[in-house]
């Protein structure tokens, strides 16, 4: 397995490059916020930006665009952070470098439940999407983990990925089956399905916050135990970790975060993979640092991807889910090519 060795002792409380990384992330964060506010099908100038942010009496079109983009950016940040942490949690729980909600098929599970909600129960508010998506994500995650961990060696990357791909294939057949007789649903769903943060609103954000807090708390709380889990179940038990409980808790946190993000923004893939790998590459495998920093990295990556999508798709926009797939899939391929086959 990659990157799961213990970090060197002398670095335990302060990973190498930690200070520099924090500064770098802070700068990137600011830059991505600026970019997200300024770029788009309509470019915003500096004064217009200030007007929109601080002079609520200015009612120009540009100012209202800026205000909309503020919402979008905050929403995007929250989604990115949630997906980043979710990826870090899932990778730690499975001791598997390529665990990501999208690869494990969890997104498709959320999709199916949402589509069924739209089609059979006339559900249209984000409030109700959330619970459906979380339920769908949970059930799928449990199912995929179960199928993937059968047999010797537990949940190896290849087994897990195949279980995920197979489950995705099945679920998407079901999604299509539900949609085909219902043109209206198809229309409503196809935009949700691509994954976009453009639809974010203050309502979404206030709905998101409690879930985000719960998920982050679980993640931070379970991080030290996950560090022990990285050494294998036997060693972790020897170190006094209740492996079963911690697995359950951490997976719950991971699924909760990606379920909510999926419900509100649609299935956005590969953020968990990208953020976590980038962070681990820089500071090493200590989960206690990887988790919070993945949140930042996820937020930054998703925001930049969103900006890219807006610029590339101009005058309309390229949905962010498409952009992340195009950045993330090559990374998956790269990891696979580099990995020792023994680890797969």
């Amino acid at each position: 397995m990659m990157n799961t060795s213990v970090s060197e002792n002398k670095h335990v409380w302060m990973p190498r490059n930690f200070g520099k990384l924090i500064i770098l992330l802070a700068i990137l964060l600011c830059l991505s916020v600026m970019a997200s506010l300024i770029f788009g099908s309509r470019m915003i100038t500096w004064t217009q930006l200030l007007d929109g942010l601080f002079h609520s009496e200015v009612a120009s079109h540009e100012a209202s665009v800026v205000r909309q983009r503020v919402v979008r950016t905050i929403f995007c940040f929250m989604c990115g952070a949630a997906l980043g942490v979710s990826g870090a949690l899932m990778q730690s729980v499975t001791r598997n470098p390529i665990a990501d909600p999208s690869i494990l098929g969890v997104n498709t599970g959320a999709s199916l439940f949402v589509v069924c909600g739209i089609a059979f129960f006339n559900i249209s508010s984000a409030n109700q999407y959330i619970w459906l998506a979380i339920a769908g994500a949970m059930l799928t995650a449990i199912f995929v983990f179960t199928v993937g961990s059968i047999g010797s060696g537990g949940a190896t990357p290849i087994k897990l990925v195949l279980a995920g791909a197979a489950t995705s294939a099945i679920l998407s057949s079901l999604v299509v089956a539900v949609m085909i007789p219902r043109t209206k649903v198809m229309d409503q769903f196809r935009f949700w399905q691509v994954g976009s943060v453009g639809s974010g609103s203050w309502d979404h954000i206030s709905l998101f916050i409690p879930f985000l807090i719960v998920g982050f708390c679980i993640a931070i709380f379970s991080a030290p135990a996950l560090n022990a889990l990285a050494l294998g179940d036997d060693v972790a038990t020897g170190l006094g970790v209740k492996t079963g409980t911690i697995r359950l808790l951490a997976s719950f946190g991971g699924v909760l975060l990606c379920g909510v993000a999926t419900a509100l923004a649609g299935p956005i893939g590969f953020i968990g993979l990208l953020a976590t790998h980038l962070i681990r590459l820089i500071i090493g495998p200590d989960v206690r640092y990887v988790i919070p920093l993945s949140a930042f990295a996820g937020a930054i990556i998703l925001t930049i991807a969103d900006v890219c999508g807006r610029l590339l798709g101009s005058p309309s926009e390229l949905e962010v889910g498409i952009v992340t797939a195009f950045i993330g899939a090559p990374l998956l391929i790269f990891i696979t090519m580099k990995a020792k086959m023994r680890a797969l």
Binding site: V147, D187, F326
Partner: protein
Amino acid sequence: MNETMMSIYNSRMKRKRRFLLMTCLLAVISIVLMGLMLMLGNTFYPVKDVVSVLLGEDVKGASFAIGTIRLPRMIVGLFAGFAFGAGGYIFQTMLRNPLANPNVIGITAGSSAAAVFCIIVLHASNALVSIASVVGGLLTAIVIFILSKGSSFSIGRLILIGIGIQAMLNAFISYLMVIGNTHDLPSAMRWLSGSLNGAKMENLYPLIIAVLICTPIVLFLASRLEILELGELAATSLGVAPNKTRLVLLLSSVLMIALATAAAGPIAFVAFLAGPIAKKIVGVGFSNIVPAGLIGVILVLAADLIGQFAFDTRYPVGVITGIIGAPYLIYLLIRINRKGDL
């Protein structure tokens, strides 16, 4: 003849009889389904009418319904089913893993993406769509094989890379679907799940020709494929050139699968299910290319009949095969994991 020889001979003959018997049975079922495809529809036509239409006689009403609607639908189901079944079996055998089939590793996604691009962006002619889907499928296959070459070839790596490529291709298809016009959607939906709707005879010739040319080629190589199953080293020492054989098998099966995808969309799971089901039914020890192809035909035609007539809404064939195939896929995954082959 000594005793050992007799017993080996007898048990082999027994299995050969079962193989032949079951293959014939599969052929008969395929023919029955083909007949049903022609007889059933808005109006039911008895066998007599169907036969006379096929013989070129003019039967009032039936000639149009059968000749221009049902016959092309049946033909595309027949050839696409065979192509998916046989092609999928070849992939699975060659890569020694039932999960390594064109659906899972993204080759059909490559064909779909190329075809959808031609339809939505270029508004291209059907001929161009066929060519593009073959090129798309072949390119995807080549890219996957090159990337998974590495220091040592491994099936696990190939599958993971295939899944990565597929994720990108699917994102691309989703994007095309979003920018496409609403009135293009139903026809584009075919590229997500596969459908036999609206098949026209004149669009089917590439597929028919490919299947008729490639089938003899792969049958000729069938015994080599069996030897390849023993691994590269054993194959070389038995006088099979692994790379050359693999290349020809790969090209022929990708050609068939890509054209089938162009004609009917990536009908879910047929390429994946046909091989293992054929193995279950006809047994192991003889080349299962033809039985797997026949299973493919049966799956596609039966699923299409179910999709057309079993529900209030008409479902495209891919949705039905997707749902029928699901439990089997899960079962197979669980079994493979239990055995610990991966």
